[in-house]
């Protein structure tokens, strides 16, 4: 195995594209190194992207936050302004693993590992984040919901790297939240995860919403019908019922040791309600519950 740690995205991309054998980006390594050790994958080349400035920075511009793909969960948590603007996204990323894993794990890695249960991905999708994808020949943007196309399958060509995530500018009366169901209270993989971001007008009527579910299909989903169920409402009981029904209807989960199909479908509705209540409370300037 060869190790390279270039200082530009272009160089990193060239290295990955030029390698005829298996080549992988190395971000925090909390998925990749586990897979290498357990012989799931045997790359000839790993390209460490952490020496590339853009992947490691959090910038705030008039267009919104620009978060480097290799920023760690611990660093996201320490960024007070990001946390204040996007508490749901930061809490989603902070649910990944332990303190030690947080010291290394990144949102780029969480997305590109291609797990349907990746915790930060519904947070990014709900936020309306775009992945900024770089190759040796240029850049393109892709909504995060279009990056993962199936279990371990990504819409990235050989040599393409996610450099950063661009979040939209935060508007007043907006709030986001993420909740997951796990059999334990820490250190487990989501049975269902739900990220919701919404905006209200001054009277508290929801004017825009995005609802994303994780671990209920072959990839994290953006559920337009669930968002429609709450737009135009003040999140009253009827709206919450409709939201739960739409969330459950969008699931096409698997049975596994963590949860059956029926359980996942039911929990998706329950979590969507609770997540929406948290996001709504935050949009109204009230602090949402944690977990």
């Amino acid at each position: 195995m060869r190790y390279e740690a270039p200082e530009t995205l272009e160089r990193a991309s060239q290295l990955l594209a030029a390698e005829t054998g298996i080549a992988r980006v190395l971000a925090g390594g909390t998925d990749l190194l586990v897979q290498i050790k357990s012989d799931v994958i045997d790359p000839i080349l790993v390209v460490d992207i952490k020496k590339i400035a853009e992947t490691r920075e959090i910038k705030e511009t008039s267009a919104g936050f620009h978060i480097g793909a290799a920023v760690t969960g611990a660093e996201l948590k320490e960024h007070a302004k990001l946390r204040a603007a996007w508490p749901g996204l930061v809490e989603a990323a902070n649910l990944i693993g332990s303190t030690q894993v947080q010291g290394r794990a990144t949102m780029g890695g969480n997305l590109c590992n291609g797990s349907p249960a990746a915790d930060s991905v519904p947070g990014l999708i709900a936020a309306g984040a775009k992945a900024i994808i770089v190759s040796a020949t240029g850049r393109r943007e892709l909504p995060v919901e279009d990056v993962m196309i199936g279990v371990r399958k990504l819409a990235l060509a050989k040599g393409e790297i996610i450099a950063a995530f661009q979040l939209p500018a935060r508007t007043p009366h907006s709030g986001d939240a993420y909740l997951r169901f796990i059999p334990r209270t820490e250190m487990d993989i989501a049975v269902v995860g739900c990220g919701i971001n919404l905006t209200t007008d001054a009277s508290g009527t929801i004017t825009a919403a995005r609802v994303s579910l994780g671990a209920v299909a072959e990839r994290p989903l953006l559920v337009a019908d669930a968002a429609k169920a709450i737009i135009g409402t003040k999140l009253d009981a009827a709206a919450l019922d409709k939201l739960a029904t739409a969330a459950s209807a969008a699931c096409r989960p698997i049975d596994d040791k963590r949860g059956t199909k029926d359980f996942r479908i039911k929990i998706a509705g329950v979590l969507a309600r609770r997540t929406a209540e948290n996001a709504y409370a935050r949009a109204q300037g009230k602090i949402g519950k944690n977990h």
């Binding site: 060869r2 190790y3 740690a5 909390t30 190194l33 952490k50 030690q100 010291g103 290394r104 250190m187």
Partner: protein, 170 residues
């Protein structure tokens, strides 16, 4: 492929070692530098026995490549005691019987030190969440949590008081 020549700082000392690309920081510490205080429990990020800090950040050394640590500052369990004088966390672990077989202990100590550096006065819940990635098959955790809380209190008391009117430690 030639081995990588890595120069780092471990517990304040400049060190250099040679490693293969696929050797983890844990392998390098134990096999190349003879620092066997850092333990391997799982090798997959689940148990925390291999906890060290890299540039002040708590990580599992089993999930870091040795070659990635070039130019970084690494702190391990060997850096806790100053000569014969134990770190207060070590003393408290002994007092509270917070270890039995001891395999998890270096990881708990390094992780607890990182916690207290960031949050000198943690609540019990904060201690438990911070240490959720450190597994112990012997103690049942309560004694460990008590030792950490006790150490935090003593460290607070031991802090030089800058003002005469500071609140008395509860």
């Amino acid at each position: 492929m030639a081995k990588h020549h890595v120069q780092t700082t471990v517990n304040g000392d400049a060190v250099e070692f040679l490693c293969e690309t696929d050797e983890t920081l844990l392998d390098c510490l134990r096999n190349n530098l003879g620092l066997t205080g850092t333990k391997e429990g799982c090798g997959t990020g689940d148990c925390g026995a291999c906890s060290v800090t890299v540039d002040g950040r708590l990580v599992c050394s089993c999930l870091v490549l040795g070659v990635e640590t070039s130019g970084k500052k690494i702190e391990t369990i060997e850096g806790l005691a100053k000569g014969d004088e134990l770190h207060i966390l070590q003393t408290k672990f002994l007092e509270h019987a917070a270890l039995q077989c001891g395999v998890c202990t270096p990881g708990f100590l390094v992780a607890s030190k990182a916690l207290l550096a960031k949050n000198p006065n943690p609540t019990e819940t904060e201690v438990r969440y911070w240490l959720a990635g450190n597994l112990c098959r012997c103690t049942g955790y309560d004694k460990i949590v008590r030792a950490v809380m006790d150490a935090a209190q003593d460290m607070q008391k031991a802090k030089p008081k800058t003002k005469t009117n500071t609140k008395q430690g509860a």
